[in-house]
């Protein structure tokens, strides 16, 4: 028997992500995603041994530790219920904590879920800390990340249009994903490039929306995988890495924690050439320029070269390394769920269940999330076949 139990993803469920789900409570929102994941796995609430839930700061809904109130809606009564919070990477971290329960053989079937109902509050001001915690005029995440994007452009010499190419691609990909929040049918590159400047160089169309949404997955051991009605995805590697927010020598453009996290995942999964061996990537790109930045950080391109992959169409749905075929965070951003959606979309690709945004023949896919001040990273690599042990 292998030291660790191989972990399979046998069910995925999402809500249709929108700006405001006024028709459901928070409980209704999470239950909708959980029910769809159970249906996908042909399981019911009683089949679940434990629930692991994640979301970003509680201030986003104004409910402290909402998992206590959600215990009933999640079918968790009488079961273990864990609540993870690791900033923007939380959706990924939550899935990894759930996977650990199966890998350690503590539980056999685990429901994991992440959500955000941003319409209950205002995330931008929830993220804007009062003095003395933060200097004024650093409104929201865009104000924090724009200087790092400018540093990347200066360092790499990337043409100023690369960001708009990413946004144009992701918004078009979203048209193929029925669950995506933004469906901009009339989108053109010119519209992206002429949209208002929010945080120079990030334009309105290059930034993520505020969404209400939830994403759920059912994880199982080998026995559970053999009973699943659809092909499972197998976890080949998963890791989290953290570093401090600010310190002398911090590289905001390509943080060491991101590099270390990817290296750990590739080592576990036996990946030596990620560009060639990985068929699809769902990475956390809340502002367009983060696609070329993460392509370098994750080892898909040499330093300063990531933008060339974007510019040459490699990351398009028909390219040889499709990035965010779902439309990504740029098209859908229920913050606490965004990381799990990346992980789940990677799963859908290797299960050949991504529908109109399926990458043909995808066998290995990477799910990536990050958070805080580019300091928390979580990633997993999933495959169509079980891991070699």
């Amino acid at each position: 028997m292998p030291a660790k139990e191989p972990v399979a993803v046998v069910g995925v469920g999402q809500t249709k992500h929108v700006a405001a789900r006024r028709d459901v409570s928070i409980a209704g929102l999470v239950r909708e995603a959980a029910r769809r994941a159970l249906d996908d796995a042909a399981l019911d609430w009683a089949d679940i041994d434990a629930v692991v839930i994640g979301k970003a700061p509680d201030f986003f809904e104004g409910v402290m530790m909402p998992e206590l109130y959600l215990a009933d809606a999640l079918g968790a009564v009488g079961k273990p219920l864990l609540r993870v919070h690791t900033a923007g990477s939380v959706g990924g971290s939550t899935a990894l904590v759930a996977a650990g329960l199966v890998a350690a053989r503590v539980h056999r079937t685990v429901l994991t879920l992440a959500f955000e109902k941003q319409s209950e509050s205002n995330a931008m001001w929830g993220l804007s800390l009062p003095v003395p915690f933060q200097q004024p005029l650093l409104a929201g995440a865009g104000g924090f990340f724009a200087p790092h994007v400018r540093a990347y452009i200066r360092r790499s010499g990337a043409p100023g249009t690369v960001g708009s190419l990413v946004a144009y691609k992701d918004r078009r990909n979203a048209l193929r994903n029925p669950y995506a929040h933004l469906h901009e049918h009339g989108i053109t590159l010119e519209k992206v490039q002429s949209s208002p400047m929010l945080w120079d160089p990030i334009r309105y169309s290059e930034t993520c929306p505020s969404s209400d949404g939830a994403c759920a997955m059912v994880l199982a051991d080998r026995a559970g995988a053999s009973r699943a009605p659809y092909p499972p995805a197998w976890v080949h590697g998963g890791a989290m890495r953290s570093e401090p927010t600010l310190f002398a020598g911090k590289d905001f453009v390509s943080p060491q924690a991101g590099k270390d996290c990817a290296a750990d995942v590739y080592r576990q999964a036996g990946i030596t050439d990620p560009r060639r061996e990985i068929d699809a990537v769902e990475m956390y790109v809340p502002f367009s320029w983060y696609e070329p930045m993460w392509l370098e950080n994750l080892g898909f391109a040499a330093e300063g070269e990531g933008w060339k992959l974007t510019e040459s169409g490699v990351t398009e749905l028909g390219g040889d390394l499709p990035v965010n075929p779902s439309g990504g965070v740029l098209s859908t951003n229920p913050i606490g769920a965004s990381g799990m959606i990346r992980f789940a979309e990677a799963v859908l690709q290797v299960r050949d269940r991504a529908g109109a945004h399926q990458v043909a023949g995808a066998r290995k896919a990477l799910g990536h999330a990050y958070g805080g001040g580019s300091q928390f990273f979580s990633m997993w690599l999933v495959g169509a076949g079980p891991p070699e042990t």
Partner: protein, 350 residues
């Protein structure tokens, strides 16, 4: 299952107000102390996990500041739960069970002093039906206490005796906030008097976990985790029997607590009446030493108090004053969510 033990425990002196220090400044001495007890440095730790709450800190992502205190450079494998640190311990324990790490650092902290924690805790209730009424944590505990009295499970003198015993025990605990007995005082919310309620205060705690022989290297008498489990109950108080705690009983069963008697129990019972519920659920007889630290009635730094119960139980094993201990942590209104860990020392150590 892999053998995993708690090899070190440290905590602050818990105080009514720590306004002169930030959360990081409060936490750092504890981190240094707990690592110092094992000779480990941050870079030696395989996995780090913490528990804390943004609603106490009053800002989003408050745990990121604490990470600065850990010294996460080079980058570390790290996670955080928005729960009491006892659940961070659970996550770290599972991580060690997978074999992905051999050591773990777990910490938790909470400052209740900046606000009115009694009111802050109302924000964790059902946001549509309950939170708008602002039923505070003492009022909800009082409902539970009254239910116990009405069912003949306890009475006010019995509750007063629990308060007296806990704070007398705390005389031997240099970290406790209330050391020595206090008058029961008047009613806060009937039938609970001042003495039945926990002190409001600030504090932090940390433990180090290690697996197998690594634990034996780091600690003369490791506190082996024989089992750990946690369970949650429905949120709505109206659908629960407040005089019982089926989630605690189930967690204890799963943790193996009933396989052999324990000699010591550290129960996270912020209110005297909740000790009555927990003793029943855990079938603790008179021979078991309950809360030799004084428990949450002597110091209740929210988010750390549950981890402190596990740490106190482990420390008793480390000292050799306990061979088999039960540690309990709770979260949510009226004991909604409960965790039970069973710790043992090896019989012939030292």
């Amino acid at each position: 299952m892999r053998d995993v033990a708690i090899v070190a425990f440290s905590q602050t002196d818990h105080v009514r107000s720590s306004e002169e220090v930030s959360e990081v400044e409060m936490l750092m001495p504890v981190l240094h102390d707990v690592l110092g007890r094992t000779g480990l440095r941050t870079g030696d730790i395989g996995f780090t996990c913490s528990g804390s709450c943004d609603y106490l800190a009053g800002r989003a992502f408050s745990f990121t500041m604490a990470l600065d205190g850990v010294g996460a450079w080079p980058p570390i494998a790290e996670s955080h739960v928005e729960m009491d640190g006892a659940w961070a311990l659970y996550e770290a324990w599972v991580k060690l069970l997978t074999g992905e790490a051999d050591t773990a650092l777990v910490y938790a902290y909470g400052k209740s002093s900046p606000g009115s924690v009694r009111d802050v805790l109302t924000r964790q209730l059902d946001p549509y039906y309950l939170a708008p009424l602002w039923p505070d944590s003492i009022a909800l505990a009082a409902l539970q206490a009254q239910a116990l009295i009405d069912s003949g499970e306890t009475d006010e003198p019995a509750l007063a005796a629990i308060a007296q015993r806990s704070r007398t025990a705390a005389e031997g605990n240099p970290h406790a906030q209330l050391r020595g007995p206090r008058p029961q005082g008047g009613y806060v919310v009937r039938p609970l008097r001042t003495g039945d309620c926990p002190p409001v205060g600030d504090g932090a705690a940390a433990v180090v976990l290690a697996a197998g022989d690594r634990a034996r290297e780091l600690c003369a008498r490791p506190a082996w985790i024989r089992g750990m489990d946690h369970r949650v109950e429905p949120h709505a108080l109206g659908v629960r029997d407040l005089t019982d705690s089926p989630s605690t009983r189930l967690a204890a069963e799963r943790a193996g607590a009933f396989e052999r008697p324990v000699d010591t129990a550290e129960l996270h019972a912020p209110f005297t009446s909740q000790e009555v519920v927990l003793r029943k659920a855990l079938r603790l007889g008179g021979s078991v030493t309950v809360n030799p630290s004084g428990g949450a009635l002597a110091a209740n730094p929210v988010m750390a108090a549950g981890l402190i119960r596990v740490g106190e139980a482990a420390a008793a094993v480390h000292r050799g004053t306990c061979d088999r201990a039960l540690a309990h942590a709770t979260s949510g209104p009226c004991l909604q969510q409960n965790l039970v860990a069973v710790l043992e020392g090896e019989p012939h150590a030292r």
